[in-house]
Amino acid sequence: MRSLFGVLTALAVIGLAFWAYQENYQTQRSVSKIENLQREIASARSRLMILRAEWAYLNRPDRLLDLAEINYDTLQLLPLRPDQFGKVDQVAFPPHEPLILEGSVEVSTDGVKP
């Protein structure tokens, strides 16, 4: 009985040790994964910041105005003026196209003279 208890205890210790190691290694793996991810996030954010700064720089009003002037032939962009506001009434309705049925077969007898 006592020896069985001893064997069981030893097995339990081995099992728990195995489990503890397993957990430990898993934790370490997760931590290093998190660190990698955070490094990636940090570099992605710094890239994003650079891109946002570049976007803002390329979209600065001075440059857009110069570009609009350079490309006036193709784009014909001008500053917004008050007379460019329109009203909904000024927009024409789309032309009404009558529904044309082709190849219809007359099945009604209504109006047909006997």
Binding site: V31, Q38, M49, A56, P61, P79, R81, P82, F85
Partner: protein
């Protein structure tokens, strides 16, 4: 185990033969056995004690080792929760009201040298000068060959420059990471943003601190890590600001002015949508403050907030509004305008002679100094002071710029009756254009106080009531008439029903004796649309002169007003204001104001 008998037969028999007591043998044997047992148990106990001692020693040893390790090692954050400090930027962005970037950070590098590690010092110095032509070669060689162990070569370098320095290949040239403040729009809104520079500097990092404008005013908030990098949202609109700057710059050049300022303010929320002061500067390369010359001519000087000017006739509407509010007059009340009005040695004159008397509306429309001064006499000094104080003309504005605190309006030391009369038409009291904008906004929004702000707001301010809504409405109608039939006839912008008041004030001489004859501050304070004002626009030109006619013209009606009209035509559509008249309306139909 062989048990030794207590009474061995041989010994007993032998003892009986010699006549000894055999019990003695037994007792002796028992004694020996007990001694053996005692020795055994003692050695076992000693062994156990030893094991226990070793275990305790190990346990305490481990604890002690851990404690000393903890005490001696650098403290570090738990690895799991290391939401890296490198993820959140050191300083938050500044964005405009629609989220477009006005200021952001950029990662760059600084270049420093450790001369004792340099291999070929003179070659390194010469190569560096080739990359950075602004460095002084002789000084650099002297620094490298001298006793210095460390020196900064460049605070900020671009990636291309960094690569070029790498290519020199000297181990004594080292790089440190730097975050620099970038204003991608260049000089746009330079006076509002101010600028930033490095504070405490280390090899691996440097503080970025604000030096002026909102950067300095909100320095703590921008740098507070608890904000999590949340951007600071200003009330400025990038597009409107850009258009206003462009128009104002053109106007300044056209009118030969040496400086100009413009403020566009929402009359309900108090938000400053655009604020321009010319000449301006590039906050990326903020110039050093000038040590000589007139500070007011420096590009760093914010004319819109810091500049204190006698704003001239634009003040007349305050006198009129107060008279209307107090019930002393109505728009049709006749006021004597026969001049000159003598007060002691002092004479008050009008630009033209307007006859014996005019209605109050006409006094404003024609901008009669005499009429306004007479009105101020009726109002009296005390009530005038109270009213101007409530409009904010006695204190510096509370706008979120560090410079604002210094702009304390200049008041007459002794508020005599003559001061009352001159201040009624804008002389004798110097205030900034921003003060004027806040005052006009109070008239524009129906008579309640508005505090100008640079931060985006979602709801209108409901400030204290300064005048009745009826008085404010009548004052607005007068301002509208100034544009339709008065001094600001160039201010008419079809569809936007501009109302406003011109102001032309002679500049005081620098030596404090009297006024210049040919230098003026021309101001146009306007609101649009006058029947339901949404925005107040102040345009101010410093020393303008319009030379298209036979004689140079300096009045605001010829200088500031056309600039303001052009500006309203440009920015009102950008603000989403739809003109009241239909597009493509036939000529000949005139817009009526209410």
């Amino acid at each position: 185990m062989i048990r030794t008998p207590l009474r061995p037969l041989a010994s007993v028999l032998h003892a009986r033969e010699i006549g000894e007591n055999p019990d003695m043998i037994e007792r002796e044997n028992i004694r020996v056995r007990h001694e053996q047992m005692r020795d055994r148990s003692r050695s076992r106990a000693e062994g156990r004690l030893l094991v226990l001692g070793v275990m305790f020693f190990c346990a305490f040893g481990v604890i002690g080792a851990r404690m000393s390790a903890l005490a001696q090692s650098e403290a570090s954050e738990p690895r799991i929760s290391s939401a890296g400090a490198d993820i959140i930027a050191q300083r938050a962005d500044i964005v405009d009201r629609r989220g477009r970037i006005l200021a952001t950070n950029l990662e760059t590098h600084s270049l420093y040298a450790q001369p004792q590690q340099l291999i070929d010092r003179e070659r390194a110095a010469r190569a560096l000068v080739k990359i950075f032509p602004d460095l002084d070669e002789e000084r650099l060689i002297a620094d490298f060959t001298g006793k210095r162990k460390f020196l900064w070569v460049k605070k900020k370098i671009s990636p291309e420059q960094k690569q070029a320095v790498h290519d020199i290949g000297d181990p004594g040239l080292l790089f440190g990471p730097r975050e620099m403040r970038l204003y991608p729009n260049g000089a746009l809104a330079a006076h509002v943003l101010g600028g930033a520079s490095f504070g405490r500097e280390g090899v691996s990092a440097a503080e970025v601190i604000g030096v002026a404008g909102v950067e300095k005013r909100f320095d703590d908030e921008l740098r507070d890590p608890a904000n999590g990098g949340k951007a600071l949202t200003l009330s400025l609109d990038l597009t409107v600001q850009a258009a206003a700057e462009r128009v104002l710059f053109g106007g300044m050049k056209l009118m030969n002015a040496k400086g100009a300022a413009a403020i566009l303010m929402d009359v309900h929320t108090g938000e400053i949508v655009a604020m321009v002061s010319l000449p301006d500067f590039d906050p990326n390369e903020r110039p050093r403050p000038a040590v000589e010359g007139n500070a007011a001519d420096n590009p760093l000087f914010n004319r819109a907030v810091q500049g204190l000017y006698e704003l001239g006739s634009t003040f007349k509407i305050f006198t009129a509004a107060q008279a209307l509010d107090l019930g002393l007059a109505n728009p049709a009340t006749m006021i004597k305008t026969a001049g000159p009005l003598k007060w002691g040695k002092f004479k008050i004159r009008d630009f033209h002679n307007y006859g014996a008397e005019l209605t109050l509306t006409k006094v404003i429309v024609k901008s009669s100094n005499i009429g306004t001064a007479r009105l101020a006499q009726i109002i009296g000094a005390t009530r005038q002071q109270e009213f101007l104080r409530s409009l904010g003309f006695f204190d510096p504005t509370t706008i979120e710029l560090t410079e604002a605190k210094g702009a304390v309006p200049l008041l007459p030391p002794n508020w005599s009756e003559l001061s009352t009369m001159t201040i009624s038409y804008g002389h004798g009291l110097s205030a900034s254009p921003l003060h004027l904008a806040a005052g006009y906004a109070a008239i524009a929004n129906g008579g309640t106080k508005v505090t100008p702000t640079l931060l985006k707001r979602s709801a209108p301010q409901h400030g204290a009531r300064l005048m009745s809504a009826e008085a404010a409405k009548q004052a607005r109608q007068m301002l509208r008439k100034v544009v339709t039939e008065g001094t600001a006839s160039f201010g008419e912008v079809p569809g936007y029903a501009v109302g406003g008041k011109t102001g032309t004030a002679d500049k005081p001489r620098e030596n404090g004796r009297g006024y210049h004859d040919d230098k003026v501050i021309a101001t146009f304070a306007s609101m649009f649309p006058a029947h339901d004002p949404k925005y107040v626009l102040i345009v101010m030109l410093d020393e303008p002169v319009e030379t298209s006619g036979p004689k140079p013209r300096r009045t605001a009606g010829w200088t500031a007003v056309p600039v303001a009209a052009e500006m309203i035509g440009r920015i009102a559509p950008l603000l989403g204001l739809r003109p009241d008249v239909e597009p493509g309306q036939l000529a000949g139909i005139t817009l009526t104001s209410n």
